[in-house]
């Protein structure tokens, strides 16, 4: 098993992963600030953060992180709904 043809997309090192996570966290913090959950629905806000995010992270990672953010909020919603139901 050895493929010497197309060179695969650059392998992110530990530092590159770290940079991507930091860009993601900064962008998500900005989204929190404008009360937006779904990345991409914030209009003109956070565009600088979004740019850095897209520069430092692969698209598949961006899709994955954004989806996880959405699921995280949905789970929080369900948990707080369950809590308030239990209190009755």
């Amino acid at each position: 098993f050895s493929n010497s043809r197309v060179e695969t997309p650059t392998l992110p090192t530990r530092q590159e992963r770290q940079k991507c996570w930091e860009a993601r966290d900064a962008y998500f913090a900005c989204l929190d600030g404008v009360g937006v959950v779904m990345a991409g629905t914030e209009g003109k806000a956070c565009s600088a953060g979004n740019l850095v995010y897209h520069k430092t992270c692969a698209q598949s990672w961006i899709t994955y992180f954004n989806e996880r953010r959405k699921l995280g909020f949905q789970q929080k919603d369900m948990a707080s709904q369950a809590n308030s139901q239990n209190k009755r």
Partner: protein, 215 residues
Amino acid sequence: VFTPTSAAIFIATGIGLLFYFRHEKAKVIEQQEKDRASKAYGRPLVGGPFSLTTQTGEPYTEQNLLGKWSLVYFGFTNCPDICPAELDKMGLILDAAEKEHGKIFNPVFVSVDPARDSPSRIAVYLKDFHPAFTGIVGSYQAVKAMCKAYRVYFSTPPDAKPEDDYLVDHSIFVYLMDPKGQFVEAFGQVATIDDMLEKMRVEISTWKSETGTTA
């Protein structure tokens, strides 16, 4: 009609059955004790033969797991955060466990991304993690066979291209295998370093009392 004879037969049968059941019950209990003593029950069928290639191009099979306690993790180099976190966790565990028991451990990283993860790529990737790691890669069929043996789910399609940008969905476990290459435990993401060290401590101690050595 309830005659004395039939009454006698009835009682005799009753007593006979009583002794029969007592005898059978004693047999069952004895068998259970035997099973418990040999630990022959409750071992899930995880693991088995496989054949892949290391980051230095050497062949690597289930034979290479013998003689040490192996920690096997399935992942891929293009993983956004979970694989690096699990590999870091394994690194910390190795440091602590080696201090406690000596160099009797064998950490293995198995790639479930045959289209992109070559031996050289996995070699570069593992430079960021504990130096003892062996990384193994293989063809789609070889990876699929090993995942089947280890009951690992992975989502890589057989026709993925190396230049594609995709993530691989996969089971997230660190598998502890004993020096005979047999499955001991699967640690999930929520397993803490202390949990895992404690489990390893118990297993190594049991192994030592049965075999006289720690590996």
